[in-house]
């Protein structure tokens, strides 16, 4: 158990777009830091320590970019660490910040980062280079083909159709219409998704997230600072994280200890977070989830691993509208990662968007009576997973 209770007391996000050419990378990160501090009613002097959220920097083209950002995020004279677990980075950075405060080491921590994935046209080339150079790089593995492989396996196991994944895209883009920061948004149809160009079976173009630029930040505080500065914080009541083997081929077949296509690792991360947060019936107790879903097929296995329904059942609940805004479970009210993916901060955006729902600051996307919200992040070769349970009250 944590020594100190921890809450999100400030949130900052910039709009997510393909390109932001009127600002440098570090100016973009400053925008989020400034917005989060203002939201919390704090000044840079009130921040004890900083966690910088950033995944591979080859997309934006400057190595070890946290050193570039030091001045813009007011880190001079303060402890700073950068956290990097691929796509899971934002969630891991949040957990590092949480540990800083929960341990009693710091009172107030700023978790901040930015990314510009479309700064290079060679993004999938860069992503191919995260794989083993001797055994796997030669076979065109990248984030698209990696998850396409998992999805083909999932479809075979549960009889899921391409149309069922297309409905997830339709719902996400519709939800994103009410999110001014979302990159992709609009009223599209299942037919639009089905007719978009084929990429990697079973994916079409619309099944895949955009390459986004943007920044995000949250301010974490202990109980004393929270009481002083925030009347409606989002309390971090549970965190869970798990790491798995780099080799996806170890996670398929009868000898696997965590089924690849089920994202089975998330079950264990969820169990840990739920135990801390007192969640025994996720579907009843949690109203909002912000899932890390860069592809249309990534929601179902996560919802199943996190205990919202049985394996293979999420597709039916999705079809009947149970995951629509305000229905049984509001899945990605923000539009999620399918609509905006600034990779190095995406996991942090998930936490931020979940926190906004608890804090009553989600704007046109605000749902009534959100008591508990859950965010996830996934990175590497579906290998780093983490989740965070936020609540309107301390557990």
């Amino acid at each position: 158990m944590p020594k100190n209770r921890v809450a999100v007391i400030g949130v900052g996000e910039t709009p997510f777009r393909a390109h932001v050419t009127d600002k440098t990378y570090v100016e973009l990160s400053q925008d989020a830091a400034k917005a989060a501090l203002e939201d919390a009613g704090l000044t840079p002097d009130d921040v004890d320590a900083i966690v910088f959220s950033m995944a591979p920097t080859q997309f934006m083209g400057v190595n070890d970019v946290e050193k570039w950002a030091v001045d813009s995020i007011w880190a001079s004279g303060k402890p700073l660490m950068r956290v990097h677990t691929g796509g899971a980075t934002g969630g891991s950075a949040l957990h590092a910040g949480y540990a800083h405060v929960a341990s009693g080491m710091y009172r107030t921590v700023l978790v901040v980062g930015a990314d510009r994935v479309a700064e290079t046209p060679d993004a999938q080339h860069i992503l191919n280079l995260i794989w083993d150079p001797f055994y796997e790089q030669d076979f065109a593995l990248n984030t698209v083909t990696m998850t396409a492989l998992a999805t083909q396996r999932y479809m075979h196991k549960y009889g899921t159709t391409e149309e069922q994944f297309a409905r997830v895209v339709v719902r996400s883009r519709k939800n994103a219409l009410q999110n001014p920061n979302a990159h992709l948004k609009g009223n599209i149809t299942v037919d639009d998704v089905m007719k978009s160009p084929r990429m990697s079976w079973p994916y079409k173009l619309f099944d895949i997230c955009p390459r986004s630029s943007g920044a995000a930040a949250v301010v974490l505080a202990n109980e004393e600072v929270t009481k002083r500065h925030c009347s409606r914080p989002a309390f971090i009541n549970g965190i869970g994280g798990l790491t798995s083997t780099v080799f996806m081929g170890d996670r398929v077949g009868p000898y696997s200890d965590a089924e690849f296509c089920d994202e089975a690792e998330l079950k264990f991360a969820g169990k840990e977070a739920y135990a801390q947060a007192g969640i025994t019936n996720p579907m009843k107790q949690i109203q909002v989830v912000e899932l890390y879903d860069p592809f249309s097929s990534i929601q179902f296995p996560q919802l199943e691993s996190l205990g919202f329904c049985e394996r293979g059942r999420a597709q039916d609940l999705s079809d009947d509208g149970s995951f629509d805004m305000g229905a049984m479970l509001s899945v990605n009210p923000s539009g999620g990662t399918l609509c905006s993916n600034p990779i190095g901060v995406t996991g942090l955006v998930r936490v931020a968007d979940a926190a906004l729902q608890i804090m009553g600051k989600a704007g046109k996307n605000q749902l009534p009576d959100v008591q508990n919200a859950l965010s996830t992040a996934i990175g590497g070769s579906v290998q780093f997973v983490n989740c965070t349970v936020l609540g309107a009250d301390y557990v």
Partner: protein, 158 residues
């Protein structure tokens, strides 16, 4: 991404990185790649947990013991996951192509490679031939170089 749009924008300065590497492959991978030159796929076996792993490794993550045996993988196996790529990714092969994780006979884990020799003109149809559970066989190139690309998978003749 629309490249032209970026190039014409006054707020853009362009850049490129060129870096080169000499990767050390170590003893375990060295033995595996030497095996490929003789058209053999060698897996590491742990006598404590009874599992055989591809790619081969120095240490068994299940039993936390060094792998103590090498075994020769079967040259046939079963597809665990597959996809067909229809789009040109930067610096990656020209589409279309099929890739699959295949668990070779006698091995506990699956190894990725291309599935060659298929008609991929109809993606939906071709995808149905690559379902998990489908048997495939290994086909070596004529003059193996000690690289993972020395072999690929093929569907059995119809």
């Amino acid at each position: 991404m629309p490249k032209q749009e970026v190039m014409n924008n006054a707020n853009i300065i362009t850049g490129e990185w060129h870096v080169r590497y000499n990767y050390s492959i170590g003893k375990v991978a060295g033995k595996f790649f030497e095996g490929l030159k003789h058209k053999k796929i060698l897996a590491t076996h742990c006598s404590k947990c009874g599992l055989s792993f591809l790619p081969p490794r120095a240490y068994c993550e299940r039993s936390f013991e060094p792998f103590d045996q090498w075994v020769e993988a079967g040259l046939e196996g079963v597809i665990e996951a597959a996809t067909i790529v229809s789009v040109q990714f930067e610096n990656l092969p020209r589409p279309p192509y099929a890739i699959a994780y295949v668990r070779l006979d006698g091995v506990s884990t699956a190894l990725i490679n291309f599935v060659r020799g298929m008609d991929l003109s109809n993606v939906e149809h071709a995808a149905q031939r690559l379902n998990p559970g489908t048997r495939v066989r290994v086909e070596f190139i004529d003059n193996p170089q000690g690289r993972i690309t020395d072999f690929h998978y093929v569907l059995p003749a119809a």
